[in-house]
Every structure is written in C-alpha cells, then in structure tokens.
C-alpha cells in the first residue's frame, strides 16, 4: 500500500461549483461510464452479435446445402430466416443486459451509493434507459443489417436472396434491430420493479414466452382477441416477416408497426411502474 497522506483542506475548494444543477445530462454521462466499465456489457453484446449473425449464416448455409446442386430457391422467403437469430436469440441475451443495468446495482448494493449521489431517483432510471437504448441501437441495428446481408450473400448463390428494395424488407430488417432494445427496456423496467436479476429475467421470460403459450390454451376466439396485445409469440410475426410470398401473418394481429408499438407499450408500462416504485419505496 502506498504511503498514506492526510488530506489538508486547501485554501480554495478542491471541487469547483457546478455549472448547473446536476441532472439528466450528468447522470446519463455517469450511466454511460457505468455500462462501459463492466465486462458483462461486452460479453452480452458480443454474444448477441454472434447469435444474430451466426444464426443467419448457419440457417442460410443449411438451407442452401439442403437444396443441393439441382434446385434453386426461387420463391423462397429469404428475409425472415436471416432475422430470427437477431430477434429470437437476441432478445434472450439482451434482456439479461437490460435487467442487469439496474438489478446489478441492487445485487451489489451500489444502488445506495447511486441514489446518494443522485437522490432524484426517476432521473437515475431515465438515464439508465437512455444509455441502454443508445448502446443497444448502436449494436442491434448494425447487427440486424449484418445478419440480413450475411444470410442474403449465401442465399444469393441459389438466386434466392432478397434486397432491401424488395417490398417490406427494409422495414423487417429495421424493426428487427429496433425491437430487440425494446425487450431490453422491458427487462430494465421489470428489474426496477423486482430488484433482483434472476427474478426479473424469469418474469420477463414468462411474459414473452410463457404468457403467449398459455394464451393459446384459451378458447380460440379469446386467444384471437388478445394475441395482438401480447409482448411475444405470434405478435412478433408481423415484425419480422415481409408479408410476401406466403409469409402473411394471422389477420387478428396488428401490422408490423402496430405490434412494434404494442411491445413499446409494454416496455413503457414496465418503466413507468418501475420508476414509480423506485420513487415510492425505500431504496
């Protein structure tokens, strides 16, 4: 240990007065330092990129080899399979990062320190959501496009590839990259509500996987009435399909942007409830 010094009070204050009252901008800066200074961020983001692109490449390569030399894939919907990895595997990974953004603070006790330096709690949660969204968009949108192009490059050998200018393809690629951060935000909101990593992730998986499954056990008319409002299951179909070449989705669902808005609504509701509880409860 280095030699210890006893602090002497300097004539002038050691810390200059703030230019303004510390607020959202400062806390957002702080949250950005937090998210990039722990390894788990990099691990989860790399896992997400690998899963998104890897699934697309593997699926495309498998499909192409399945067709063999004689056949070609004309008429095949080549867009959706290249996005399934980004959305379905990706959401599994990204919800962990989203939940950890706040639950790791409860797990370590850091939350007390964070709220002592920034007692306006809703500002803290807002900063977390902003930073998480920004980091996710910077990763998930390029990943979505990379997964799409990597898959199409392989499908192109069988003249089955699509291009972004084909109907609704750009929308599907874009929405795939946009919807993944929404699941992360939903996890962040649940994390603020449940304050425990495993609990938040488990309840999130229940919400996006189990709930749609259970809903299917309902009488058909009931299921058709609620399916469009669920944050998973069939409701994802409009988002990652192009609606072309036999890829039409069930008519009782909203369209692509509609279902995207439903998931955004779930994320917003979780964040608002989480923010309210953060404000109300003892830390």
């Amino acid at each position: 240990m280095a030699a210890l010094t006893t602090p002497q009070r300097p004539a002038a204050r050691a810390v200059p007065a703030p230019a303004r009252r510390p607020g959202l901008v400062d806390v957002t800066g702080s949250e950005f330092i937090k998210i990039r200074s722990v390894r788990s961020t990099y691990f989860t983001l790399i896992a997400f990129i690998l899963a998104g692109i890897g699934f697309s490449v593997l699926f495309a390569a498998g499909q192409v080899s399945h067709w063999g030399n004689s056949q070609s894939g004309i008429g095949f919907n080549a867009t959706t399979p290249t996005l399934i990895g980004v959305v379905m595997l990706g959401e599994l990974i990204i919800v962990v990062l989203g939940a950890l953004t706040i639950t790791s603070e409860y797990g370590t006790g850091m939350i007390s320190t964070s709220l002592t330096v920034m007692p306006r709690r809703v500002v803290l949660l807002a900063a977390k959501a902003i930073v998480f969204t920004a980091v996710m968009l910077a990763v998930s949108l390029p990943t979505s496009f990379a997964a799409y192009f990597a898959g199409q490059a392989i499908f192109a050998t069988k003249h089955a590839s699509t291009t972004l200018s084909d109907p609704n393809v750009l929308r599907a690629v874009l929405l795939a990259g946009l919807v993944v951060p929404l699941f992360g935000l939903l996890a962040l909101g649940l994390g603020a509500i449940i304050r425990h990593t495993a609990g938040a992730i488990t309840s999130l998986l229940g919400l996006i996987f189990l709930l749609p499954l259970l809903a299917q056990a309902l009488p058909n008319s009931w299921y058709q009435a609620i399916a469009r409002w669920l944050p998973g299951g069939e409701a994802l179909h409009p988002i990652i399909t192009t609606g072309q070449s036999g890829q039409a989705y069930s008519s009782y669902l909203f369209g692509a942007w509609g279902e995207f808005a439903v998931i955004a609504g779930w994320a917003a509701a979780a964040l608002i409830l989480g923010g309210w509880l953060l404000y109300r409860r003892d830390a």
Partner: protein, 307 residues
C-alpha cells in the same frame, strides 16, 4: 449541519427508530453510538434520503436530502464499503460517481491519491481487501469535497493501521471545520475519535452530549481519596455539595466535585491525604451504564444532557 426532529421509522409494528431528535454540528466528530440493531444505519439512510421516515423530518444544511443542489458537494457518505460493483475498477467506480455531479476527472485522481490507492486504481474492486474497499468508499465520500461526511461503522474489520488512518482522517476533516458523523458500536474507538456523542438504544435517543460530559456523568467517574481523617473530609465534601461513598481498599469515592476541588477542601480543612486521584469511567463503562438503564426503565429515563 444535520438536524433530525422526531425522526421515526416503523417496519410494520416494529419501531426501528423512535422519535429521534438531534443536531450534528460542524467542526467536530460526532460519534453515533448504539448496540447493533439500535437503528444507527436506518437513521443514516433516512438522513441520505434512502429510506423514508414514517414520521418526523431530517434535514441537511436546512434542506431535505433530495433537495440539495449538488448532493456530492454537500454530503459524502460511506454506508457500506462493499456497496459497489465488484467488476468495475476503482477509477471507473469513482469516475461514474463524480460524473453525476459534474465533478472533474482530476478530482478522481486526487482522492485516489488521498486514500493511497494509486497502485490499484485500474484494478477491479472485486479483488480488494476489506481495508482497500473501505478506502475506496472513503474516496467516494471525499469526491465532492463535502462539508458533511457520514461514515457507518468505518473501522469494522480493519487492521490497526487502517483504524488509525481513519481516525486521523476523521479528526483532520473535523479540524478543517467539516461536520463528521460516524457510527460505531466500538466504544473504545469512539473514545479516541469523537468529540461529541449521540447515543441511541432500541431506536430511542439515550444521550446527546460531549464525550467528556458523557463520561463525567457516569457514576463510575469519581475522585478517589485515601485519608486517615475520613469523617472530617466527608463532612467537608458534603458541605461543598459532593457525595461520598466508601470504595474498595479503604478509599472514599467522591462524586460531584473534581480533583482540584477535593484537594482544596482537604487543604482548607487541614485534612491529610494519602491518595488523591481521578477515576475516570471509560466511554464503554459509561455507555453500558446508560444503556442498561434504558433497557431497565425503557422510555422513562431520558438521560439527555445538553453540552
């Protein structure tokens, strides 16, 4: 300046903090004493706005904590040295905290130097010893160069060198005119560090007094005298307003007068003294005496002495 008025925290029907009122003033180290579970941490958390009081108020520089303009510049707190993300380096931990209040990066390096963690600044906090973690927590508290510092059990688990370092640090912070509020259940430690005491038991205020008054108020503090002229001295002492009790070894224990007064009385009355010595209760003894009372009589004895 920290001021609590009627501060109360209930969890269900369990009262953790019960109608506490005190003021923590600048320029001195105020020790916050009480047995484990007395409500010290809960009180500190309410001061910091982490827990909401069930009743009463507590203000920091006249404002509720959440109303502070730049919290880190006004209050630095160390509640739990382990309350940080172990995967983050010491530097990043301090940097992310500093950033919330717009504190420049050079101050992060400064406080790392102040607590002597330069060599491990880029190391992840996970691998830190208890003492290093405590230093990092103190560095965080010092970041904003605050006027008020709060430490919850800062010497827990530290080696003697670490304890001495923290003691020196707290003394010098108070000497600089800052408010230092430190909780502990280690009486001997507080006796060396604190000027003033807030003593609680079962969430209730037992005493708020200067350390010297607190100890002097103990029945264990007295003047011990040995004299062949016991009766003469006893009468003279009682006449002067003191009380006399026989002690062990044929000594007399005089209370209500100090050593100088007893010496003068003896001299004045021509009483021969073989022994004249102050017997000072330790803080621990004074504390045990008071808390035993509080347990015995519950709320009926509020031995509150104002300094």
């Amino acid at each position: 300046m920290i001021e609590a008025r009627g501060l109360t925290k209930r969890y269900g029907d369990k009262v953790a903090v019960d109608d506490l009122s005190f003021s923590i003033k600048p320029g001195r180290v105020t020790g916050f004493l009480g047995p484990n579970g007395a409500g010290k941490t809960t009180t500190m958390r309410m001061i910091l706005g982490l827990d909401r009081p069930s009743a009463g108020t507590v203000t920091v520089n006249g404002k509720p904590f959440a109303g502070l303009y730049s919290p880190m510049r006004e209050v630095g707190a160390l509640l739990d040295a382990k309350a940080m993300h172990g995967g983050r380096s010491a530097y990043s931990h301090l940097h992310c905290l500093a950033r919330t209040n717009g504190i420049p990066r050079r101050r992060v390096d400064e406080v790392i130097g102040l607590v002597g963690l330069e060599e491990v600044r880029k190391k992840r906090a996970k691998g830190f010893s208890l003492g290093m973690g405590q230093r990092l927590g103190i560095a965080a508290a010092l970041l904003g160069d605050p006027e008020i510092l709060m430490f919850d059990e800062p010497v827990n688990g530290l080696d003697p060198e670490g304890i001495r370092w923290i003691r020196t640090l707290m003394r010098s912070l108070a000497a600089e005119g800052r408010t230092v509020f430190v909780s502990s259940h280690l009486m001997s430690e507080m006796e060396h560090t604190a000027d003033h005491l807030v003593v609680i038991g079962r969430g209730k205020l037992i005493a708020e007094a200067a350390v010297t008054d607190f100890i002097a108020g103990s029945t264990l503090s007295c003047v011990q005298v040995r004299t062949p002229q016991r009766d003469e001295l006893e009468l003279a002492v009682i006449a002067a307003g003191g009380t006399v009790q026989p002690g062990g070894d044929g000594e007399l224990e005089i209370r209500g007068l100090d050593v100088a007064q007893v010496g003068e009385i003896a001299h004045h009355h021509g009483v021969l003294l073989h022994l004249l010595a102050p017997a000072r209760a330790s803080l621990e003894e004074a504390f045990m005496e008071l808390t035993a009372d509080s347990v015995e009589f519950h709320a009926t004895t509020h031995a509150t002495t104002e300094a």
